[in-house]
């Protein structure tokens, strides 16, 4: 490498940095002076910035800056601003008559969107993020409802829950465990009868004896023809939808030990507007009546 200070490029007459790559030299062109001033300005700006905004890490946090800026406060402000923007709709929803909600397009859209968000946060753990439910947790998309599928009934179920001990107005019914009441072959008969009325493969002979037992023991709640009774949350046994399964084993288990599905009351936790929002959301999923 050539001596840095004395190497002048012939063509341009400019000093080189002394760096040389296979004969290609780097010119040491001077920077413009305004560039230097801009550089100093950025330093001044930087110092000012750390004074104005949170910057220096301290033991328990960072310096807060004289402008008192905080990202958290900004988020809180944003949330407050959205709440404020939505407050008219929110009050309207809390006071709304659910049966006519769909007629108010804007409010309905707001309710469905809000309901969807609440559903994902609070309801999806049991009913699934797509509301398709799971064994023991009802599918909310279909047209089969234990306690009624019009929007008022849906809202009631959400508000008070099912078979919980916290809400006095919760939906309540309890199927007896027939394992203590009926003989084994009677239970088998009832199971075959249920298979028969729901149009599945069954043993006709057993089903015939089961029909009598069903009439005596089950028809009070499930009705003589097995279509159930929504006032009692007694499921329809003649359709294609089964909360706990429709094979012999699952049905035998149900008859012998009974089932006792619980849903907590949401009315107080969600508040009026959100409760209605979830109802509106669930109602428009495809099964609403």
């Amino acid at each position: 490498m050539a001596d840095k200070k004395n190497d002048i490029d012939e063509t341009s007459g400019i000093e080189t940095t002394g760096h040389n790559w296979d004969g290609i030299k780097e010119l040491n062109n001077p920077l413009p002076r305004w560039w230097l001033w801009c550089f100093y300005l950025t330093i001044i700006w930087g110092v000012g910035y750390t004074i104005a905004y949170p910057a220096w890490p301290m033991i328990t946090g960072a310096t807060s800056g004289v402008l008192g800026y905080s990202t958290r406060a900004e988020v809180a402000q944003d949330i407050a601003r959205f709440d404020e923007q939505n407050s008219a709709l929110e009050t309207a929803l809390a006071d709304a008559d659910l049966t006519t909600l769909a007629e108010n397009e804007e409010l309905h859209r707001y309710a469905v969107a809000g309901g969807a968000a609440v559903f994902r946060a609070q309801c999806s753990q049991c009913h699934g993020s797509g509301a398709a439910g799971a064994t023991g947790y009802p599918n909310l998309l279909d047209d089969d409802w234990l306690w009624g599928g019009d929007i008022e009934n849906i809202a009631y179920t959400i508000r008070h829950g099912v078979r919980n001990e916290t809400d006095f107005d919760a939906r309540w019914s309890e199927m007896p465990a027939f394992g203590d009441i009926l003989e084994r072959d009677e239970i088998d008969g009832v199971v075959q009868h249920v298979l028969a009325i729901s149009g599945q493969d069954h043993d006709a002979e057993l089903a015939a004896t089961g029909a009598e037992v069903f009439y005596d023991q089950c028809s009070a709640c499930h009705a003589e023809d097995g279509v159930g009774n929504r006032d009692l949350g007694a499921p329809n046994l003649t359709d294609a939808i089964w909360l706990y399964g429709s094979d012999v084993a699952a049905l035998t288990e149900t008859v012998r030990n009974a089932r006792f599905g619980i849903m907590p009351p949401w009315g107080e936790r969600l508040g009026e507007a959100d409760t209605k929002a979830v109802a509106a959301y669930v109602h428009q999923l495809g099964g609403g009546e």
Partner: protein
Amino acid sequence: MSETPQPLYAPQEPIFPRRVTGFFRTFKWWIMAVTLGIYYLTPWIRWDRGPALPDQAVLVDLANRRFYFFWIEIWPHEFYFVAGLLIMAGLGLFLFTSALGRVWCGYACPQTVWTDLFILVERWIEGDRNARVRLWNAKWDVKKWRLRLTKWIVWLVIAVATGGAWVFYFTDAPTLLRDLLAFEAPIIAYTTIAVLTATTFLFGGFMREQVCIYMCPWPRIQGAMMDDDTLTVGYREWRGEPRGKKHDDTTGDCIDCMACVNVCPMGIDIRDGQQMECITCALCIDACDDIMARIGKDRGLIDYLALADEPRERAGNPPRPIWHHILRTRTVIYTTLWSLIGALLIFALFIRSDIDLTVEPVRNPTFTTLSDGSIRNTYLVRLRNKLGEPREFRISLRSDALLRLELEGSDQRIITVAPDSTTQQRVYVIARPQDPAASIDRTDLRLWVEDVNSDARASRDTSFNGKANP
């Protein structure tokens, strides 16, 4: 060889471009008039789109996420039009650069156009080159203050108008102007105007050639697109040298009058050869042609030249014709690509329907069993109405299989979409238990929507999921 190292930082050398007239200068005045005209007037052109839509011909409506350009309206999901235009602009620059060097810099770049305008003002107020040099060296007396302040105020007015025109592209111009004058416009409008005013004032008035030499990335990229056939401004050294005032047989055509140096806005001497600073503004060509005419020589001592022609010209042959330099593989490739993308965009613009339909099958869960054993699939259908009035669409289904269509919340098959907006509708397709589609894994189907009042229609293919066979 110097013993003291050269300084690390250099002060800005003042440049006082002289007035010049000629073909290229006239051409550049026209370009300036047209580009500035377009810039200042465009936001004020009106274009009727019906009551629900804005009537500004060119509008970037950020709040509502729409871009209006005369008869074209672009929604956010059609951003590829903007991307396509940007690619075309890029390729266009490549094409021009490879054919004509830094023409963009010399003629069309806002930095050049506004600097030209600022220098024009400077000349009106302070006089031509010699007067300005004198004023520069003069003490700060009343006269100097008066001239300088007048100049700065006029520059400032231009700068405010420049920043001011910019914001009109983003909202209704007449309304904004009224608000601006009444001090009721949004703060962001004033901030934008302030920032653009400052940059215009600074870049056009004081930074000028510094922007091109030190700040702008474009000249660094341009080098990659030029080759020996690129036409750039150059000096016919073999004709001009040895330069001299004597003007007899021992000297070349250059009489060393410094006209080319004095008019150069970049403050360089083109006779030293092609240089990084040269923006090919061609003003030195005009200046030199003028001198050549006066001393009775041919024009073109300084001219648009291709490096490839140099050996021929040195040997006394005429340069090859211009088309020979311009028509070469590189430019042909750029032109082809450019036209291809242009043609594609125009094609896309024409086949674009004014109904936009997306169908999103709900896959969580893939199907729902209904109480009678039917299998139901759900689809989220999104319909965009790009027109200024509400429209009604009839939705229908085509499939080889037996399937039924239903709409959430309605017994009918009609969806109403408000003007200039999007509606989402849950659509159900149902197969009865006894029909094959209910138990087949996958059945193809097509959803059609048609405008009830016109023949506009659109369709999407999707599929129906039955219960997979056990």
